[in-house]
Symmetry: D2
Subunit: 307 residues, 4 copies
Amino acid sequence: MADLKLLIDTVRDELQSMQHQGKVADYIPELAKIDPRKFAISITNMKGETISTGDDNERFSIQSISKVFSLALALGKVGDGLWRRVGREPSGSAFNSIVQLEHERGIPRNPFINAGAIVVADVLLAGHQPREAIAEILRFVRIAANDDTIMIDPAVARSEQATGFRNFALANYMRAFGNLHHPIELTLGVYFHQCAIEMTARQLSEAGVFLANGGRDPRSGLTIVSKERARRINAVMLTCGHYDGSGDFAYRVGLPGKSGVGGGILAIVPGEASIAVWSPALNARGNSLLGTRALELIVRETGWSAF
Amino acid sequence: MADLKLLIDTVRDELQSMQHQGKVADYIPELAKIDPRKFAISITNMKGETISTGDDNERFSIQSISKVFSLALALGKVGDGLWRRVGREPSGSAFNSIVQLEHERGIPRNPFINAGAIVVADVLLAGHQPREAIAEILRFVRIAANDDTIMIDPAVARSEQATGFRNFALANYMRAFGNLHHPIELTLGVYFHQCAIEMTARQLSEAGVFLANGGRDPRSGLTIVSKERARRINAVMLTCGHYDGSGDFAYRVGLPGKSGVGGGILAIVPGEASIAVWSPALNARGNSLLGTRALELIVRETGWSAF
Amino acid sequence: MADLKLLIDTVRDELQSMQHQGKVADYIPELAKIDPRKFAISITNMKGETISTGDDNERFSIQSISKVFSLALALGKVGDGLWRRVGREPSGSAFNSIVQLEHERGIPRNPFINAGAIVVADVLLAGHQPREAIAEILRFVRIAANDDTIMIDPAVARSEQATGFRNFALANYMRAFGNLHHPIELTLGVYFHQCAIEMTARQLSEAGVFLANGGRDPRSGLTIVSKERARRINAVMLTCGHYDGSGDFAYRVGLPGKSGVGGGILAIVPGEASIAVWSPALNARGNSLLGTRALELIVRETGWSAF
Amino acid sequence: MADLKLLIDTVRDELQSMQHQGKVADYIPELAKIDPRKFAISITNMKGETISTGDDNERFSIQSISKVFSLALALGKVGDGLWRRVGREPSGSAFNSIVQLEHERGIPRNPFINAGAIVVADVLLAGHQPREAIAEILRFVRIAANDDTIMIDPAVARSEQATGFRNFALANYMRAFGNLHHPIELTLGVYFHQCAIEMTARQLSEAGVFLANGGRDPRSGLTIVSKERARRINAVMLTCGHYDGSGDFAYRVGLPGKSGVGGGILAIVPGEASIAVWSPALNARGNSLLGTRALELIVRETGWSAF
């Protein structure tokens, strides 16, 4: 881990000169306030040890990275029946596209585009009040991270609620096809709160390490999901985790990963480690620009790859 | 390898009861003649040893699996400049869709859909006569397979030439955008002949093993491509290798793979083995139905996975 | 007019045998209750005289036919500036398609598809409370029809409000692009009430006759719109009045027309007459099946045509 | 007619200041050579009298305007059966779009987009050698125009043949769906020659006047098509005659019209006159910019309108 620590410090230094590139997400007002110079890397290995660098103890909004945890939770609740309501194919479209929904009659292409994650939230809402469903997602993340201090930022949730017209469009559209089972406001309430979970880079690599470790948290020893399920979630992350930039991420980084518009990325090195990076400025496809670059440098030096 | 041999024999027996399912490709008349009950599995490990079962010494048309070899060859010739003329994102569309080409001005989404592979053939044609380009592809496959007996079936090439109206449409369309540089007949001549390469399952797993072995052929010791390039080709296979069924294949099998409408699939287990399966009947997305099922059973028993 | 009366009586008789065809709109529960055997024709000539047949004094929900009146009203308020927010091209898509909106960044293709009419409602809402805007539309229709008894059916408005998920999707989607200026609930409130205007066939042909008469109501003598504007509204009706069946209607009937899912059609014979038909069962594109057929028979006998 | 002559002279003068606008079609090399300052108007009335102005005796390539004549001819040969192979709905897309063909399985949206006109050419080729089919189209135009001097420019036909990759793509694509019945080279040969018909503005307004006159040529007295068919062709011209600018042309000009990339437009004033205009520079949708403007000025002064 000492070598790794040196590596990520070097990567951080190397990328400082590129900090003017990319653009912080501005469509959620609360996120637009973030300092684009924030930067963190954290790596958790199979023993549960974590090294980190930069603003590694600063919380950021994990946004769409939460879709990994809600997917894991929903598969635990309804199993492969989930795939009747959402596909698992790359979309070839932007994260908030509605075109595919019309052609495919309200079934989102995969659980990592917004429409798909809204369906997953609707699944988690079954038999619950929204606040119970939100609490369940948060509890799952806390267990995975072994950390009860992880919280939701209500200002971010409200901010997205007030401006999320596209998400309301997607939800209404799927409701028209009968693929949402609850009132739209409730389902989106769950979705917006899940996206507003805040974590530090350290907490995020720790929360994701079970996916690298066959479904088991190396620290608590708890089985979070089965080995086969962990692999399958990784597969969906690799093919769909970066919207219409998924193929590029797979080519350049070669690891399952999930990005969020808050600038975070969670990447999984099966059998080796989980990596969390955070840099708020995004590339044209809405994925962290320097975060992706950092992962490229790390895999080049470590030789880590799914392939 | 003894255990593996037992496993693939068992898989072959187990799948015999499903041989009425799926449908042999009928749009290329020469392929429509194949007996749907043909079945073979072959596995080559990191020592270059191969085990196989079923019709493992019978040649079949590798069709789109050839796109893996032509991609490797083209990257060797022009490097990452290739990506200016073809993308590397999953398409979310059928193998012969033309819609995406209009929206993206003649740049195919990836090198494994027909349009993309036609661009790769056009790249390989630069500075050559068509027969030289075809010979170069064939030579590459023979070197990879360590086998000079691998041939092209001219009847299949002619059959596709005579009926490939969609491919002519795709080629003309890309030519209109300036993304083909040679006369369409010549570029498609290369493409149709490349698709008509015939191999046995044994030859195919042997030809593909360099991708599992960091780019090196374990028998000849030759470096076919660099380690990094092997990984990247695997990444493209995983995200794009099964057309609009790529996500499903990644979820169920969890390995880089490339299918052909002749019923073959080449799958790569990085660091472990290459697997060739052959069963001519296809599922709705044009991928071998029993071939996919066989791979599922093999990874379930071996635990092989990219994830 | 006596000959015309005989003609429409004959048309009514002739079509009775076809009354089992088509399908009453069922997605708005209040409309699904309508007796599919209802049938009416009404013709108003340039002197303001009206003849009619069938259920000609029974009110029906004019639904999308209201879009003709709201367009006329909006053009009166903001003139050609309206076309910055909505196009005037045929859409080639279903009445409730959202695909085009994504490609054209929230600008609906024309004012007669749902998305376009919602924009027009939003224009009419400027500076008003929703009930004022609704009242203004109703007043416009009453003046055009010379009839103060025309009303809105609040049950229909509520019914659509409760089930109009696609319209909520369209509205949210346009709001995301900044092409709605008011809260979605308010704009859609106006839209749903406008669609719930009830008229008899007689009232409808009388309300529409100004479009045949160069913009002037032949009875009251009032100029409702300018001559040029009347012609232009007719042009939009001809190219866009029947969704993705507009070309077929133009070919078979040859008159500007606007249909509604309540089964009504308003057709304009420039310089001659306005025609209202009502038959609730719809064809596959959501236009009155027998209503269209009735218009075909009428133009065949009268020789009426825009061409 | 004296007043009209004065009017069109005035229009010509008025538009001279705008002659720097628009852009001559450059994708057919032979057309790119045309002097953009060329300008002509010709009007033929119901007595068969013609007035004209500008370069009214200079031949230009009528290009897509020929689709009106080939449609009339094909309807005469196969009647409404034509509509099984081509639709009659506006396309909402550019003249050479291929997207719609994929979604609608090789059936072009209407006979005035390229794909549709290629199908019409294929219909006219039935039972003929290409040169016979070409001769038949030319004969039809000559009869309509009462003028045996009308010719095809073979250099233009060759020029399009050599560069028409998109048209080859469209044809191959429709062939893949079985909607072309002859070898593509032959069908496109007919199509390219038909587009290369050359006429003066005078010849063009004379050739089109039968559509304004209920199908009958006022000079020869010949019935070219039935009255009903003339109306229906006018209807298709109005809804589909200007590609994805058809709605705009209907709104601004209000007449059935068909444009060609050579800069010509044929407009029909039912019961009054036919109008030919020619000005080579095109607007963004491929329709003559000043030609459209000229028609706007003419209808404003004359009050001519279909509506």
